[in-house]
């Protein structure tokens, strides 16, 4: 095995998006076939992730938000190579994943994942320590050493190894299990951790504790996070940059505070205005997004959001808007927002969330 800590020092710099890309995704595409008809052929396809490009910067937390079914979790599994993409490539630290320089097994040592369901992500027949030590043993660490490191990690995530190492998952609470899952993700000394709704299933008080733990661990181990959640408040709290997905497409990507305060895409604006406000004087009066998201089996042509968009133009239904920068480190896929599209509108086209919620 390669020396584990050489890259750690430089990846530990706290960065706000301006660093270099650690993980680059190009043209990622995944359609799921829907079988039907007499011969059970693939008659239709769910456009789960459709031509996604993104970069995860070294040391940042990239938040990914969107409604359920927008392709967030599929993206996570594609990033992890748990499902094979139909198209697209992953480049990690300058090497193509699956190439000779970076075989899949080595890549998986560098990138780990924490799932939403803390119970089903632990083998019910293995003790906590065996579950955590498994990954290291796969990569050739002797059992004794792997177990010693496991106990270390348990202590690090706030679980007393003497009390928890020999227990089974069903004996732990949800928060404790999620700590175990985090410890398991850390066991391979990864550089990136993908958190797929990792705190969504937890009670609010436990969620806050686990989020704090994640923040501490990030600093301590110099980690990079991809933080996927439907909870806009949590994403704002943890993220350096935010990526907004809609029906398998990236619609907006930018520095977190900027996106939250000045959303460029009408979908982002609508999504943010639907957020329950903490301030009783700022109430959401009416639902800004009409109806359910369209079926990803037959996504709308052109801009996928045009069926629900408050500022729709005829042009939107036929031509797909590219993801383009509207300001520094802030990209959006909307004809109304991108000057080059020729349909650049004034700001009135996009409802200002402040005005709506006011």
């Amino acid at each position: 095995m390669s020396p584990p800590d050489t890259s750690r020092a430089d990846s530990a710099r706290p960065l706000n998006g301006a660093g270099e890309a650690l993980l680059t995704v190009r043209g990622l595409k995944k359609y799921f076939p829907i079988r039907g008809g007499i011969l059970n052929r693939a008659v239709k396809r769910v456009h789960a992730v459709d031509d996604v490009d993104l970069e995860v910067m070294r040391g940042e937390t990239l938040g990914v938000v969107g409604e359920s079914g927008c392709g967030k979790s599929t993206t996570a599994r594609l990033l992890m190579e748990l499902i094979e993409p139909d198209e697209g490539e992953l480049i990690f630290d300058g090497c193509k994943v699956g190439s000779r320089e970076l075989p899949l097994k080595e890549y998986r040592r560098q990138v780990q994942m924490v799932f939403q369901d803390s119970y089903s992500s632990l083998n019910p027949r293995l003790t906590i320590e065996d579950s955590i030590a498994f990954g290291a043993q796969v990569h050739g660490t002797p059992k004794r050493e792997a177990l010693a490191r496991t106990h270390d990690l348990l202590a690090r995530v706030g679980l007393d190894p003497a009390r928890f190492a020999g227990r089974y998952p069903h004996e732990l609470s949800g928060g404790q299990r999620q700590r175990v899952n985090i410890a398991r993700a850390l066991a391979l000394r990864p550089r990136v951790i993908i958190l797929d709704e990792a705190v969504s299933a937890l009670d609010k008080s436990v969620e806050a504790q686990v989020l704090n733990l994640l923040t501490d661990l990030k600093a301590e181990f110099g980690l990079t996070y991809v933080f996927i959640s439907h909870d806009l408040n949590v994403v704002r709290f943890v993220s350096d940059r935010v990526l907004v997905m809609y029906l398998g497409k990236v619609v907006e990507l930018g520095e977190a505070e900027r996106v939250y305060t000045h959303p460029q895409h009408p979908y982002t604006a609508a999504l943010l205005s639907s957020m329950p406000s903490m301030d009783p004087d700022h109430r959401t009066e009416e639902p800004p997004l009409a109806g359910d998201p369209p079926n990803p089996i037959d996504p709308p042509t052109g801009c996928r959001f045009h069926t629900r968009c408050p500022s729709i133009r005829p042009f939107c239904a036929t031509r797909e808007p590219p993801l383009a920068d509207v300001e520094r480190d802030h990209a959006v896929a909307c004809h109304a927002r991108v000057p080059a599209s020729g349909y650049h509108d004034d700001a009135a086209a996009v409802p200002d969330p402040e005005k709506i919620t006011a």
């Binding site: 080595e106 010693a148 706030g158 089974y168 404790q176």
Partner: protein, 299 residues
């Protein structure tokens, strides 16, 4: 629930020996021990098994030799507590010895089928896709025959004999076990912990060994124990038809067959071997039921 683990107490000691929780199988055994019906069934099986194993020391007489002068004596005859058969052989001794072949014929096909069927089913379930389709469609073909028919057809074509009967029964029980193995493996395969294991870079073989087997072998095993009941009936049935063990060897199904002509002379002696088959079969069914509920308590 309050997550009371993030405590700022004394520094945690990573080398202290951890508290060991009760393992899964130990807890299954603890619950099974409380199940009176299952334990009784297990006791009956153990009793019959030890009779068979220690037959040479327990059986009062030679199971193969008798005298025609003493043929078809009723139950309670002096020297022959359970009477004698159509050739004057001691029924008690023959029933004790008969357990050897009957249990062998009933249990071994399921054991073989358990290993082969599990391997096939787990492979199909874990591999998925085209491999699954190919394997399971082949299994479906054998499913198109009722089990009795398939057993009779195979051993009928192969010819009578212990080996052929064992082979036919094994073939009969592989498809149902493979189906169960496939369905539990397929269900397990989508679990997040399997995904997590894949994400750690483990090979398919390692994942199956560490994460799949421990979770699927239990349910398959329970199913297999319930199949032993069927297998006992079928195996003795083959001998009953003359397709299994050959005379003069004692085997319950064969004894039932040869005594069939005697039902007007000594009806209750003739019915005895069937009681043994019934006892073993029902015991396996009850034990299997008990095992199933003992294992169901947690996922």
């Amino acid at each position: 629930m309050v997550d009371a683990t993030q405590t700022a107490t004394a520094p945690l000691d990573p080398v202290a020996a951890p508290v060991r929780s009760e393992g899964y199988w130990r807890s299954v055994w603890r619950r099974l021990r409380r199940d009176k019906v299952a334990m009784t069934a297990g006791g009956v099986l153990l009793f019959i098994l030890s009779l068979a194993v220690f037959a040479p020391w327990i059986a009062p007489q030679d199971p193969l030799h008798g005298t025609m002068l003493m043929r078809l004596r009723p139950i309670g005859t002096e020297g022959h507590i359970l009477g004698t058969d159509e050739l004057g052989r001691d029924m008690l001794s023959r029933l004790i010895w008969g357990g050897r072949l009957s249990l062998l014929m009933g249990v071994t096909p399921v054991i073989f089928a358990f290993f082969i069927g599990s391997a096939i089913g787990i492979t199909a379930g874990y591999a998925g896709g085209i491999v699954n389709t190919l394997i399971m469609r082949t299994v479906d073909v054998f499913y198109a025959f009722p089990s009795v028919l398939l057993a009779v057809a195979l051993s009928g074509a192969l010819g009578a004999g212990l080996g052929n009967a064992l082979l036919s029964l094994t073939v009969v029980f592989i498809p149902p076990i493979a189906r169960v193995a496939e369905s539990v493996t397929t269900r397990l395969r989508s679990s997040d912990f399997i995904e997590a294991a894949r994400a750690s870079g483990a090979s398919a073989l390692t994942i199956v060994r560490v994460h799949v087997l421990g979770n699927v072998l239990g349910p398959i095993f329970v199913y297999a124990t319930s199949l032993i009941a069927v297998s006992m009936i079928l195996a003795s049935g083959l001998s009953f038809l003359g397709l299994g063990v050959r005379p003069p060897n004692p085997e319950w199904g064969l004894m039932l067959n040869t005594l069939r002509t005697a039902i007007y002379v000594q009806p209750w002696v003739a019915a005895l071997p069937g009681m043994m088959i019934f006892a073993v079969s029902i015991s396996f069914n009850l034990l299997s039921d008990g095992l199933r509920s003992a294992m169901e308590v947690r996922a």
